[in-house]
Symmetry: C2
Subunit: 374 residues, 2 copies
């Protein structure tokens, strides 16, 4: 059995669940957070240091890799695992989100999407079949269906049209998939409309995918709108498959989503914020460039085991002031470690049936109010 998904514990007060997802490259303890390795590397973090943060599974971007170096090159170099040196599970997205956020002049029709590379303007066409073929060349453990992502807010007809096309594309992806050592996850679309989300979920569930993602969120909507979209989507997904909230998010968003039954996340926030000298702490984020840190001998967090926290805040500030690479490197490691610790603590809290209390305690520390009941 190359893939398996096992629920280990469900809490009584929410939808949160502890699970283990098994892949050909090892297990993932869920709920889990995937660092983003856009171009075949998590920016500024070598795979050994990445493993030390506690990460078990990473994400790589099909859009970026097909443009450079090209999936044929990755395949010739042994596939993503050999290419990157990451021997754990890897998920590739389908490129849908990047096409609609990065590519130039994207044109969608039923066949697929044509666009121009943001690197050199070269014309590229991506179809559902091609998205699967690329990911099979990349040889990730989990591939994602090609979806049609629209910005929010959009009018209902636009959202519905894209959602229905995404469903048809998902079916074509499923038909195109051939690798026995790779599974395909579907992506529920439908914007913030409960009916459209329900239609998407029902039709995709009927196709029996190995996992289900919630896509099209974190694209400009309010957090409470995102939570509401989860409230109406997650209950329609099969309990015995992993659920993946794409591109989300802030630490509080992860806890809110876990409480609603989500198992898997990815987001650039920890690494992007780290490169910009913002460090997560139990007491909220701090800006290391701030003059206040210049003479501080204490680390970012006294109880953090990461490499950055072996240094003083004063040293880390100096690295950013002096434009030294080591600043972004160390803060990326710290923030990834922060996210992995948050997920590890969440798993522990779920196992001990105190996840609701854990969320309350976290909201208090971060001074975040609980979202109003929907």
């Amino acid at each position: 059995m190359l893939f398996d998904f096992e629920i280990l514990h469900e809490v009584t007060q929410s939808e949160a669940r502890l699970s283990r997802f098994t892949t050909p490259h090892g297990p993932v303890d869920m709920p889990a957070f995937m660092p983003v390795g856009t171009q075949g590397t998590v920016k500024g973090v070598d795979v050994g240091r990445l493993r030390e943060t506690g990460a078990q599974m990473i994400l790589a971007n099909t859009y970026h890799l097909t443009l450079r170096p090209g999936e044929q090159t990755v395949a010739a170099l042994g596939g993503l695992h050999a290419f990157t040196g990451w021997d754990g599970p890897i998920l590739t997205d389908s490129g849908g989100f990047q096409i609609f956020s990065l590519a130039e002049r994207a044109v969608v029709d039923e066949e697929g999407v044509r666009f121009r590379s943001h690197i050199d303007g070269a014309p590229v066409e991506l179809t559902p079949e091609r998205a699967v073929a690329i990911q099979e060349h990349l040889a990730s453990d989990v591939a994602m269906v090609l979806d049609h992502v629209v910005a929010l807010p959009s009018d209902r007809a636009t959202v519905e049209d894209a959602m229905l096309r995404s469903v048809r594309w998902a079916e074509r992806c499923r038909e195109a998939a051939t690798r026995p050592d790779q599974v395909l996850f579907a992506i529920v679309q439908g914007g913030l409309d409960p009916e459209l989300r329900a239609t998407s979920a029902e039709q995709l569930v009927a196709m029996d995918f190995a996992g289900y993602a919630i896509g099209g969120l974190s694209v400009g909507e309010e957090p409470v709108e995102m939570y509401a979209a989860l409230d109406c989507t997650v209950p329609l997904l099969p309990a015995d498959r992993p659920r993946y909230l794409m591109g989300v998010g802030r630490p509080i968003d992860l806890l809110e989503a876990v409480a609603r039954g989500v198992d898997l996340f990815d987001c650039v926030i920890p690494t992007r914020n780290g490169r910009n000298a913002v460090a997560f702490t139990d007491a909220g984020p701090i800006r290391l460039r701030n003059q206040a840190h210049a003479l501080q001998r204490e680390p970012i967090e006294a109880n953090c085991p990461c490499l950055a926290c072996r240094h003083s805040r004063g040293y880390l500030r100096h690295l950013f002031q002096a434009n030294e690479m080591l600043g972004p490197m160390l803060l990326s490691i710290h923030n990834l470690t922060f996210y992995q610790r948050l997920l590890a603590e969440s798993r522990q809290a779920i196992a001990e049936d105190r996840f609701a209390a854990y969320c309350v305690e976290r909201r208090q520390r971060w001074s975040v109010e609980a979202p109003a009941e929907g």
Copy 2:
């Protein structure tokens, strides 16, 4: 005994010697190469990874650190060892070389040198006493005297004037030094003139410094001119003190200098070349951006134990093409490892009395001719 210098073996066919330099932060097996941590970090390499390259001692730049963050800040954060997290020996230069290469409008008189910061144009004055005070605040294990460096070629009067001033400044540095846990190395100047080098060496040796550097080389002269300067300088230095050739150099330069009795080196070449995608190999340097490497599955060097060499050349090339930080990070590690292996092999060859044969074999592999006898 905080400091000690012990000759372990001298070869019969050259001046090469195996030695051990003991400092309050541990031993340095010599001949040794110090990676350059200009601003309190070796660019792109965390201290754990730096240790893995085999480095025992590193260099930090007084000029850069006094300008930013300032030696008072480094002292408040516990000194250079606590600041950087490097718990091994640290040598600080005096700032002389950087003032004459980086600073704006440097003006020298007998008292010292006035210049403007290359960062913000602020006026700064450095005297021999101040150079020592800064380095005592930085709390390095080895401090360097302030010297007056001139570009080559310069007329004899200019070189002689700067050399004699450097001798007087060295005496003032010696008088100013107070830390029992820091030793001061003198710097022999005199350009390419054997008489001036001899005068500098004799006067500095009479002052009884803990170690002697050969400065003012690798500033535009030909390699054979540098070797000739070593030929006439090193024999005048006391055999029972470490000899340090500042800012040199290419791998072949290190071997030529070791053969002439030099014990210690620093140079930015391995890290700077690494950041520019040039990797050292036993068969000479290779340019990773070259299209020829795009599909190569082999590492830079099959027998290299470094982190970069766990990856294919194709992956490393991709990292540089995609402007990913990990490219400069990994190639810096590889090149530093290359230098440390070169020095470790040199020590082994000296210990086994076959250093001359080792140099011959290296010159053949690198296709470098032996310098003509002077």
